[in-house]
C-alpha cells in the first residue's frame, strides 16, 4: 500500500520572467496534515494552485497515488480527488448552502435538493460540522461560508484537501472548531495541506511543515522535531534581526487635538463614539484595534472625507501658530494645511492611486491644481517621480509604467512617498505595510521614523501589535468606535493592548 498521497517533482512556474516556484519537490502522506509556511510572495499559493488546477506548471510532474497526472483545471483536480478551499470564497450569494455545494456536479438522475441536503447532513455529522443546508450564503457568517466551502470539497469525495490561509478570517473559537474538524478528517485518512503564516497554528495542528522561501521549497520537517525559532530562520533564510530604531520624541507639541467626535454610518449605527486624543509633533501615535473598529472612519474624518455628527478637531498650525478648526474646512483645504492621509485599502489601489496611470500622473493627482497656467505642468511631477523612484528604491522599469503593474510594496511606496513629498505636518498612514514582505515593511517603517524625526505628527494604524509596540511612542486602542485606552508603547505588553482591543462596549458587538 502506497502511503504517499501526492507528490510534486521538480515543479517550476514562471510569471513573465519571474519564477513563482522553482524546482519544488514535495510529498504529502496519506492521513497527515502538512502545513506550508512562508512569507507573502514565497510561492505558497501558486504552488497549491498548481495542485488544484488553477495554474499549470511550466516544468515538472505531479503524482497522485504514485501515478503521474496532468491537472489543467479544477475539474481535473476533482477527478483525482483533490479539492481546494480558497482564501476568497467562491460561493453564489443568493443560493442556499446545498445549492452551492451541488453546483457544477454532473450526476445522473434527477436534480433533487432534498437528497443533497441529506447527504450534506450525513457528512457534517461524520466530521462534526454545523451547517444548515437551507441557509442562504448571504445570511451566513464568514465561518459558516468557510464550512460550505469545505463541504463542497467533501461532497465531491475529495481525499486531498488544500486550505489557503483558512484561519485569517476566523475568531479564535472558530479556529479551534475548524482544527477539530481537520483532525477528524485526518483520522478518516484524508490528507490535508494547510497554508498559514501563523506559527502557533503550525505547531499545534500539523504533522509536518514544508517551508517555502522565494519560490523554493527549503525543507520539510516533522513538527514534533522543530520549534518556532528554527522555522522562522528557515523561512527568512538567514538570522535577521528586525529592530526598529526608535528615537525619543524631540520637543513634542500638540499638533492635532481631537475632542469628542461622534459619527454614525449610513445605517445609523455609531462608528465613532466620543473619540478624543491628541497627536503631538515628533511622535508616532499608533492606532491598534480589530479591523473595522472605526480606524478608517477616524482618519477620514480628520482628513475631512467622513462626516462627523459632533465634536471638534483643532489643528495647531506650526507655520502661523494659529489654531484652525478642521471641521469647517474642505478636504482640499485640510490637505493644504499639511494634514496628509495615506490610506492603503485592501486592494491597495482603491483609494489614492489610479492603477492605469503611471507614477508621474499619480504624483500629479496631488499637484495639478497648482499654478495659474491653463496647461498642466508635467515637469515638476516628473522630477518628483524620479526623486521618489531614487530615494525610496521603487523598483519599476521606468517612470511611465502604470502603477498597477508594480509589486505591492512598490505601489505602497509611491503612495506614501507622494504624501510625504508634500512636507506634511500631520501624516496619517493606515495599514501601509499590508501585504508587504518583511524587507519592504521595514523600509516603510523607516520612512515613518524619518518623518517623526523631522517633527511631523505621525498617526500610524497598524495590524501587527509587535510592530506597533516597537515603532510607536504611544498606542491608542480603538474598539467598536471607542477609544479604550492610550498606552505608552515603551512600557506596554501585547496582552494589555489585546485586552483593550476586545473591551466590548455594551455587549452589542455587531460585525461590520
Amino acid at each position: 500500500m502506497n502511503t504517499v498521497a501526492l507528490e510534486l517533482k521538480n515543479i517550476s512556474k514562471r510569471f513573465g520572467d519571474k519564477y513563482a516556484n522553482k524546482n519544488v519537490d514535495l510529498t504529502l502522506e496519506r492521513g497527515e496534515i502538512l502545513a506550508i509556511l512562508g512569507e507573502n510572495g514565497s510561492g505558497k499559493t501558486s504552488m497549491v494552485n498548481m495542485i488544484a488546477g488553477i495554474y499549470y506548471p511550466d516544468e515538472g510532474e505531479i503524482f497522485v497515488d504514485g501515478k503521474p497526472v496532468v491537472i489543467t483545471s479544477p475539474k481535473d483536480a476533482f477527478k483525482y480527488k483533490i479539492g481546494m478551499i480558497h482564501q476568497h470564497f467562491k460561493l453564489v450569494d443568493v443560493f442556499s448552502a446545498s445549492q452551492n455545494i451541488v453546483l457544477g456536479i454532473k450526476e445522473a438522475g434527477r436534480y433533487k435538493l432534498s437528497e443533497v441536503e441529506d447527504k450534506v447532513y450525513e457528512i457534517s455529522k461524520k466530521y462534526g460540522f454545523h451547517i444548515n443546508p437551507k441557509k442562504k450564503v448571504h445570511e451566513m457568517s464568514v465561518s459558516e461560508k468557510q464550512t460550505v466551502e469545505i463541504m463542497k470539497v467533501l461532497y465531491r469525495g475529495a481525499d486531498i484537501l488544500i486550505l489557503d490561509e483558512p484561519t485569517a478570517v476566523l475568531t479564535p473559537q472558530e479556529i479551534e472548531k475548524l482544527f477539530a474538524v481537520l483532525r477528524r478528517m485526518r483520522e478518516d485518512g484524508k490528507s490535508i495541506i494547510i497554508i498559514t503564516h501563523k506559527m502557533h497554528e503550525v505547531l499545534s495542528l500539523s504533522d509536518r511543515v514544508a517551508v517555502m522561501r522565494k519560490g523554493e521549497h527549503v525543507a520539510t520537517v516533522k513538527t514534533a522535531e522543530t520549534n518556532e525559532k528554527e522555522l522562522t530562520e528557515m523561512m527568512m533564510g538567514e538570522k535577521i534581526d528586525l529592530n526598529i530604531e526608535r528615537s525619543e520624541p524631540v520637543d513634542p507639541q500638540d499638533r492635532l487635538v481631537v475632542e469628542n467626535i461622534c459619527s454614525k454610518n449610513a445605517e445609523g449605527i455609531p462608528v465613532l463614539n466620543n473619540v478624543s486624543f491628541t497627536a503631538r509633533s515628533g511622535e508616532i501615535l499608533g492606532v491598534a484595534g480589530i479591523a473595522g473598529s472605526g480606524q478608517r472612519e477616524l482618519l477620514e474624518s480628520i482628513a475631512g472625507l467622513y462626516h462627523i455628527d459632533s465634536g471638534e478637531i483643532t489643528y495647531n498650525d506650526p507655520a502661523t501658530g494659529k489654531q484652525e478648526n478642521l471641521r469647517d474646512k474642505t478636504p482640499l483645504q485640510i490637505a493644504d494645511l499639511g494634514v496628509r492621509l495615506s490610506f492603503v485599502p485592501e486592494d491597495r489601489l482603491g483609494m489614492g492611486l489610479v492603477g492605469n496611470m503611471d507614477i508621474i500622473d499619480n504624483v500629479m493627482l496631488r499637484s495639478y491644481k497648482k499654478g495659474k497656467s491653463f496647461f498642466l505642468d508635467r515637469n515638476s511631477p516628473h522630477n518628483l517621480a524620479m526623486e521618489l523612484i531614487k530615494d525610496l528604491n521603487i523598483i519599476t522599469p521606468n517612470e511611465y509604467t502604470p502603477v498597477r503593474k508594480l509589486s505591492g510594496g512598490n505601489i505602497q511606496k509611491v503612495l506614501v512617498g507622494r504624501e510625504i513629498a508634500a512636507a506634511p505636518s500631520v501624516f496619517m498612514a493606515a495599514y501601509p505595510v499590508r501585504g508587504l514582505v518583511v524587507n519592504a515593511s521595514y523600509s516603510i517603517y523607516n520612512l515613518l521614523n524619518k518623518q517623526k524625526e523631522m517633527g511631523v505628527a505621525v498617526i500610524f494604524v497598524g495590524e501587527d501589535l509587535d510592530v506597533l509596540i516597537e515603532l510607536c511612542d504611544r498606542i491608542m486602542v480603538i474598539s467598536s468606535g471607542e477609544i479604550t485606552g492610550i498606552v505608552d508603547a515603551r512600557n506596554t505588553t501585547k496582552e494589555e493592548i489585546g485586552l483593550l482591543m476586545t473591551k466590548a462596549r455594551k455587549g452589542d458587538n455587531t460585525d461590520e
Binding site: 479544477p74 476533482f78 467562491k90 460561493l91 450569494d93 443568493v94 443560493f95 453546483l103 457544477g104 448571504h138
Partner: protein, 320 residues
C-alpha cells in the same frame, strides 16, 4: 366593452410577456441586453418576410393553410432573434465588448434593418397571414360567452407565451441547468471554478432569450395589429426591459405583471372623451410603476429581489 378592453389588454400583455421572459433568461446569465428592442424588430421583420416567401411559394392568399402560415413565420422569427443574440454574445463574450454599448448599438441597428426588410417585401402579403395568428385554436370559446371570450378566444401565440413563461421559470428554479445558469449570472468566477462552461451558458441563454423575445414582436404585428407593420416595436422592447425589473426577474410574476402593463397601456383607448395628451399619461404608467417597484425593492433591499449580481459585467477568466 369591458371584455373587449380586457381581451385587448391581455393580448398586449402577452406581447410584453414574450419580451420579458426572453430578457429575463438573458439577464439571468449576466447579460444586460439593451438590444432587446432591436432584437424584437429584426426577429419580427424576418418572420414577416418568411410569411411573404410562403405566400409567394404557395401561390397566394387562398392557398395558405393554417399550421404552416403560423409555423413558418414563428420559426423564422426565432431564428432571426437567435441570430441577433449570437451577434450580441459574440461581441460581449468573445470580444469582451461593453454590454451597454453593444446593446444600444444592436437596438439602433435592429430598428434600421427591420425597416429595410419591411420596405423591401410587399406588406400586404404578410398581412394575409394575420388571420391565422388571430384564429382561436380552442373550439369552445364561442359557446362560453364572455368567459370564453376572455380566456379561450386568442390565437396560438398568446397561449404559447404563458407556456414559455412557466417553462422558463421551471427550468430556472427546478433544474440543474437553471441552477448553473443562475450561478453564471450571479458569480461567473465561482461557476467557472465549479467546472461550468460560462461561455457556453452565456451564448445559449442569450440566443434562446433573444429568440423568445422576438416572438413578442411577431405577436404584436400579426395578432394585435392584425398584420399592420408599425415601427413602435422598439418602444415595446423598452417596455419589456422595464417589465423584467417590475417582475423582479421572475417569469411567473411576468404573466400577471404583463397583463397589468397591458391594462395601463391600452386603457386610454377605452376611456371615452379622453384627450390625446392624457392618453400619453396612461402609456407612461408602466414605467412609473417600474420606478415604484425599484424604489420598494431598493428600500427593502432583500438580496433575492435584486438583479443577478454580475448583470452587465463581462467575465474574463484571467482575472480570477
Amino acid at each position: 366593452m369591458i371584455i373587449t378592453f380586457l381581451v385587448s389588454a391581455i393580448k398586449f400583455g402577452m406581447v410584453l410577456l414574450f419580451g420579458s421572459t426572453g430578457e429575463t433568461l438573458t439577464e439571468k446569465s449576466g447579460h444586460l441586453n439593451l438590444g432587446i428592442p432591436g432584437v424584437m424588430c429584426v426577429g419580427t421583420a424576418v418572420g414577416c418576410a418568411a410569411e411573404v416567401i410562403y405566400f409567394e411559394a404557395c401561390g397566394g392568399k387562398l392557398n395558405m393553410i393554417y399550421p404552416l402560415a403560423v409555423f413558418i413565420p414563428v420559426i423564422a422569427t426565432l431564428l432571426g432573434g437567435a441570430l441577433m443574440g449570437l451577434i450580441y454574445s459574440f461581441l460581449t463574450v468573445t470580444l469582451h465588448a461593453n454590454q451597454n454599448v453593444t446593446g444600444l448599438a444592436m437596438t439602433t441597428f435592429g430598428v434600421g434593418i427591420s425597416k429595410y426588410i419591411i420596405a423591401v417585401v410587399d406588406d400586404y402579403k404578410f398581412t394575409a397571414g394575420a388571420k391565422f395568428f388571430r384564429m382561436s385554436i380552442l373550439p369552445f370559446s364561442d359557446a362560453l360567452g364572455d368567459v370564453g371570450k376572455l380566456f379561450f378566444s386568442y390565437g396560438i401565440l398568446v397561449y404559447l407565451s404563458i407556456i414559455v413563461a412557466v417553462l422558463v421559470s421551471f427550468i430556472l428554479n427546478r433544474t440543474k441547468v437553471g441552477l448553473h445558469l443562475r450561478a453564471v449570472g450571479e458569480n461567473p468566477a465561482t461557476a467557472d471554478a465549479a467546472g461550468i462552461n460560462v461561455t457556453k451558458y452565456r451564448y445559449i441563454a442569450t440566443c434562446t432569450g433573444c429568440a423568445i423575445s422576438s416572438l413578442g414582436g411577431l405577436l404584436y404585428i400579426m395578432d394585435y395589429l392584425n398584420g399592420n407593420w408599425e415601427y413602435v416595436i422598439d418602444a415595446i422592447g423598452w417596455l419589456c426591459v422595464a417589465l423584467v425589473i417590475f417582475t423582479i426577474w421572475k417569469p411567473v410574476f411576468g404573466i400577471f405583471c404583463s397583463i397589468l402593463f397591458g391594462v395601463f397601456y391600452v386603457a386610454a383607448e377605452y376611456i371615452p372623451g379622453i384627450s390625446l395628451s392624457d392618453k400619453e399619461i396612461f402609456k407612461m404608467l408602466p414605467y412609473l410603476v417600474t420606478i415604484i417597484v425599484l424604489i420598494i425593492t431598493s428600500i427593502r433591499n432583500k438580496r433575492e429581489n435584486q438583479p443577478p449580481a454580475s448583470l452587465g459585467i463581462n467575465y474574463f477568466r484571467e482575472e480570477r
